[in-house]
Subunit: 144 residues, 2 copies
Amino acid sequence: MKAHKKNRILRSFGNDHKLSHQSKHLLLELYRCDYQKLNDESFLRCTLNRAAKLAKATVLNLISNKFDPHGVTAIALLAESHISIHTWPESNYSAVDIFTCGQYMLPELASQYLIEALQAEEHYLRVIERNPPAAVVNEMRTVV
Amino acid sequence: MKAHKKNRILRSFGNDHKLSHQSKHLLLELYRCDYQKLNDESFLRCTLNRAAKLAKATVLNLISNKFDPHGVTAIALLAESHISIHTWPESNYSAVDIFTCGQYMLPELASQYLIEALQAEEHYLRVIERNPPAAVVNEMRTVV
């Protein structure tokens, strides 16, 4: 699959390791979720797709795997990085990560949506700033 | 794709949020990497596969996307979670995450291999403990 990158605005070409607040990696633990939803591969694929759109991301590919007797992994490859959901329905638990790199991304909306969609009664969210060079921060990957 | 989960050893069935040291999420920034390697989709797919094997993980699916004019994303869906590589060759930078959940995983070996394979002259590694319930920690997903 090919994607085109445009609207490149390179303000710096150096290997400047300046911290960016536009490259976020959200690690989300979801507890006491609904068993059926955590074990429903089709539902999780749709949910992941919807979460990506809420984050203003572009989904380029989406894969999933259903484990036997229970458990699903679904991963969306985004133009702006990725989102993954790993579920353990037997423990009503899901481990999510939402990694977005771009100026206009809204990963927190995706996080909030997933908490509600999987009916998590408890959650634990960590927002981690990744550390790309400045040139990466100021560049948008937009696909056509 | 179907995978079977066996060798389940559930020591606890409760929603115990006990911290596990067997569910690790490594966030790795790679700086001053080799441009050609970061822009070589085939190389990155092979490298990701090799990294997963070093971590003692089972690769169930592997997807990638080549951006135009440069940049690659490659993601491996593992029986034990996932590994992703996102590259910005123009900045000689790659953002990696290695998420493994299991008792016998070696994610640090995968991290060290990727540092060397992409010829990163600098790197920044953060090892984050995820917080699954105890039942998840004590369960192995083994595929047949």
